[in-house]
Chain length 407, copies 2
Amino acid sequence: MSIIVQKYGGTSIGTIEKISLVADKVIAERNKGNEVVVVVSAMSGETNKLLDLAKCIDTDISGRELDVLVSTGEQITISLLTLSLIKKGHKAVSLTGSQAGIITDSSYNKARIKSINNSYIKKYLNDGNIVVVAGFQGVTVSGDITTLGRGGSDTSAVAISVALDAKECQIYTDVDGVYTTDPRISPDAKKIDNITTEEMLELSSQGSKVLQPRAVEFAGKYDVGIRVLSSFEEGSGTLIKKENDEEMEKAIISGIAFNKDEAQLTIRGVPDQPGIASLILGPIAEHNIDVDMIVQNVGEDGLANFTFTVPRNDFKTAMKSLEESSKKLKAKKVIGDNKIVKISMVGVGMRTHAGIASKMFAVLADNKINISMISTSEIKISVVTGEENLEIAVNVLHKAFELDKAH
Amino acid sequence: MSIIVQKYGGTSIGTIEKISLVADKVIAERNKGNEVVVVVSAMSGETNKLLDLAKCIDTDISGRELDVLVSTGEQITISLLTLSLIKKGHKAVSLTGSQAGIITDSSYNKARIKSINNSYIKKYLNDGNIVVVAGFQGVTVSGDITTLGRGGSDTSAVAISVALDAKECQIYTDVDGVYTTDPRISPDAKKIDNITTEEMLELSSQGSKVLQPRAVEFAGKYDVGIRVLSSFEEGSGTLIKKENDEEMEKAIISGIAFNKDEAQLTIRGVPDQPGIASLILGPIAEHNIDVDMIVQNVGEDGLANFTFTVPRNDFKTAMKSLEESSKKLKAKKVIGDNKIVKISMVGVGMRTHAGIASKMFAVLADNKINISMISTSEIKISVVTGEENLEIAVNVLHKAFELDKAH
């Protein structure tokens, strides 16, 4: 018998009725002759309800006790789903993260899985049970409850799949798969049947919120296939697998992601000397602001222009910090723009196909779309442009690279 | 340093404001120089809310998964109380029943504590923490979550007190101590300062709902003092301690308890032969009905009359069963009365003072109160009378035995 791991998020199990539907899906998989381990999140809204309670005590809570509190959310869903499976006539048992042997480090609220002692899950599987495991949570070696941080249930599911050498890790969400781009922006967007973990990583970190990047990373590292499926519709979803030359049909471009949550800052006319980047970005980092894209170039006057992007929420703080640096560095000017969008084309085929970048720039230029920044990686090209260009840019690129064709 | 164990029930911690008040009480005890372990129940209403959820899946749930579900109630309170203690500037840590090493048997929903591995609690106490433990729950040796059944938090607190060799186990409730009788029935009722565990056992099983009988039994067995106190008022409460000739001032009668939750059934004119009692009570037991008082006597005709009491809820079922038995046994008549009350006088002094029973009957007779059943134990006399006599009977007995005097 093969082991299948299924993961259901909070919206998939937000009510007793939905829990019953999930139970039916689990049973269907079991009836195919597979052993099934189900990983669940808290019912949607439950975690926030618990956080609101805690915030009545202290507006700024964190640490060990917060994890004791919020981990009850999944504990409630594992018991309810298990009760539903039992009511429908199946042997089933629930396990908390601790009981399932999910050992993490002790970084409360954002712990990382160190290992999984699979003996407890295996014991119950061998006894013929469907095993329902609380996602998002674990335990330290000294027995303290931890949580993995938001979205950690995906990581739990992948880690359990690895620990059990599962055939497949099925992630059920409210979409029926990964798309070439956001269907709300481009009506031509098509569901992708197969995608490599590398491409998925670039897509998810670029704003496609279907899967937690950490979970994808984990799956790639240990070579587990993840299938993204809809909780509410039938279909084969999208299979995310480590690149494998023989098996996998390679698309040149897999998808187009975009991120509207950034702002762009530029400091002009700084002396081009070693260490200038750290003099500019050091004060930004001190404000705990993550910098994403960074571009530096030198003008004819021998002075450098330095441009970078930050989360849009941090725009004001970053601007203030940059203006202070500007005075110290005797720079010419500071410019900021928080109405930008980053558009990224992702695909493993870029490695072997030359001219993808130049074609992208040409398509954008033909459509009079101005680009303010460019950055590239092995399987990704990102450009920054004005927010108002988002829709047209995505659609012309989607068409030009034939993402609307059979995939 | 002495260790003090405090237990707070669901009404004492039903809101964030009340949790903050409890934190203040805990800190006050800590500031006296004691090490403090706090045992808490779920917030009032929380357990029922969880049960209601489960009942949407199955109206008749029980077993392992039910305990996984309801144990989240206390897990929420331990974290909230601990967060409150930390916010008020104290070192504190929460432990679930499992983390606190409370090992039980595997009778889910009504487990019994087998042992407590106190090393985890001690470790945290030694590190200077106030330790907050989830009551009502434990774990089997194989790691499954269990609950002790309703009111089990009292038992948790006493068991932890025993395991830590605590100086005192303080049970905080919504009353300020144990009373000579219910103040709602008798305005003369007085708070008792000291009472033996035996007396308390008789009082609590007779309807004084202040403490769980199992907790009192446990405390008596291991000689731990329990102090019942109010969560909302100041005062020294009632100390419940194993009888100790030297220390304890002995009252002849400690209190008067009553129980309106019973019904009385009589079968008249059954042949007085060996085994008749089991022929009558056997079918009752088969319906899972608990029988409380039993009285049998033989009339002049050589036929026996047999009377017993059952919980009022089971009255109809018991009557039906008894009528069937009556036919088989060729008895003369079956009579039932569900408007009765059992009144019990409790006191260790009865052992050494003759005439308590006859004085009790005389007082009742003087007040024209008819008695239908009598049963006695070493430290208790119980009588059954019509429900309408409750108030007058309790008040005249309370006065006659001077329970309104300094106690």
